[in-house]
Symmetry: C2
Subunit: 310 residues, 2 copies
């Protein structure tokens, strides 16, 4: 099974690296990190998993040099899909390629399916705390579970095959029957903690360690759960308490959007905030708190970008 | 008519200074600015009203040195009432003193009435853009209308007398029959622009000049209007559009809470945010956006204070 990774950041680098470390045939597309990775390979530093150093990986600068692949893992920021995939994806596609979008938010699969009619698409939710700390170096903090769900596959057989191969990594990789369910469930965490860490310039431990923001995070999670319920996805209110307690046990963490904000990268506001707000609104439920965060984040991103231009 | 001013900041300094400039008998209680004002007097700089310089004013360091007064203007930050008025107010009270709280937010009169049973209390809403730029120096930007409403007066006669005297300043000073109406109406502006200017570290022109925050400000204003309506105060939805257009015509402005935040002063979260949220909630309406701002502000104030301690 030939794997390709488009977007070798924290997520693409972690799962692609773990696959390569397990002896799978993995091809990495790189951009600014190409020279470093081509020379030094990939490294995954983890207290839990032990270190993994791959001194030599199959690294590419251009998609047109890569082999047609059975499985294409997309680890780009969701908002880059529209701009980058029209060039990067076609050279990798062959009959029966499976494209797996390991990305955050709601509606990523639909937008990619609209760009590539007839291509098989699955969505992936990475339940992992990891950051790229320098070119080719991924730091893994916690977890590693990957949940995969079909978007437009006729059945789950293809996905189950991929999962079997993926399990050679030792990581818990599973298929989930309802992709929208796992996407909404991840949003319950992503929406409060990504947004508030940017807006309030802080980390998860501060957010859950102070009474007003612990309460606010819980209220936001409840609103997301109510939005999911309006869309026919069953999540119980108790899940908000579980996620709060889980985050209280986590070590201090800067969510991906906080790192994106600090490092001048575009924020995934559309997929993490705007699409869920629209989906809930279309089902008759207004997520006012989530919409407030969306508008605050849009403003902050705009101000950051206009300051960067000066 | 003997006037006293407790809290000679932007608001107390502006209205007290205008009264003294019109020849009224005004006594100013000062704290850190006492030495400067005692020596140099008060100055109001204004493009609209012309400059006003009072080289000598009746300035005091201690309330116990001041005369019992017919009218006591309270220009403290609302959240200081509870701590400061029990010492500062009693020396100024005589039979028939009228205490006018020229302060922002909801519920200030009730809290002061609970501290001073039997004392006559009115509320005042200053529709003015002014800042204290240095000790004894007030910069006036725009407007100056003062709206006064009875909290516990048997009739409006006393208040009308005060207004007649006040009108010697040339400023538009009026009585309004429904105090809660003017308090809620002012909140429609205060809640979005005070809070967002702190949370997003910006000024009014940026908030109304960018589409996402113009929209967010309008949504927040609509929520406050719906909260007022739930409490039996009639404000129409169109008022949100009026206030947005009004703010778009204003010059760039840092609302008082932004200055309080920058200068390490406590924020009026309780009266501007928490009390309105509770009042609307008690009337069956949840102001989720306003509550979100309240919790964000509480967090930011706490972080600012804990950084100041380090």
């Amino acid at each position: 099974m030939v794997f390709s990774v488009i977007g070798t950041g924290a997520i693409g680098g972690f799962y692609g690296g773990m696959l390569a470390g397990a002896g799978q045939d993995v091809h990495f597309l790189l951009n600014t990190d190409y020279d470093w990775v081509n020379e030094h390979g990939l490294q995954i530093n983890s207290a839990h998993l032990g270190g993994l150093h791959l001194p030599k990986v199959q690294a590419y600068q251009k998609a047109t040099d890569m082999p047609p692949s059975d499985v294409i893992l997309v680890g780009l920021k969701s908002i880059q899909n529209e701009k980058l995939l029209p060039d990067l994806l076609p050279p990798l596609l062959k009959k029966d390629s499976l494209v797996i979008l390991i990305q955050n938010g709601l509606g990523v699969e639909k937008d990619v399916a609209d760009l590539f009619p007839g291509v098989s698409i699955a969505g992936g939710i990475a339940r992992v705390s990891a950051s790229k700390v320098s070119p080719g170096v991924i730091r893994h903090f916690d977890n590693g579970r990957l949940e995969l769900g079909s978007y437009n596959l006729p059945d789950l057989n293809r996905l189950e095959e991929v999962v079997s191969t993926f399990q050679t990594t030792g990581l818990p990789i599973v298929t989930i029957p309802d992709l929208q369910f796992i996407r909404w469930r991840k949003l319950v965490w992503n929406i409060p903690f990504n947004g508030l860490s940017v807006i309030l310039n802080t980390t998860t431990d501060q957010l859950v360690g102070n009474p007003e923001t612990a309460q606010l995070s819980k209220e936001i999670m409840r609103e997301v759960i109510a939005g999911a319920n309006a869309c026919g996805i069953h999540l119980s209110e108790a899940f908000a308490d579980e996620m709060l307690a889980y985050t209280q046990r986590m070590r201090p963490y800067s969510p991906s959007m906080k790192l994106d904000f600090e490092q001048g990268r575009p924020l995934e506001i559309r997929y993490i905030y705007e699409n869920p707000v629209s989906a809930a609104q279309a089902a008759g439920y207004s997520m006012s708190r989530v919409d407030t965060l969306a508008q605050q984040l849009t403003f902050l991103e705009r101000q950051r970008n206009s300051q960067a231009e000066m």
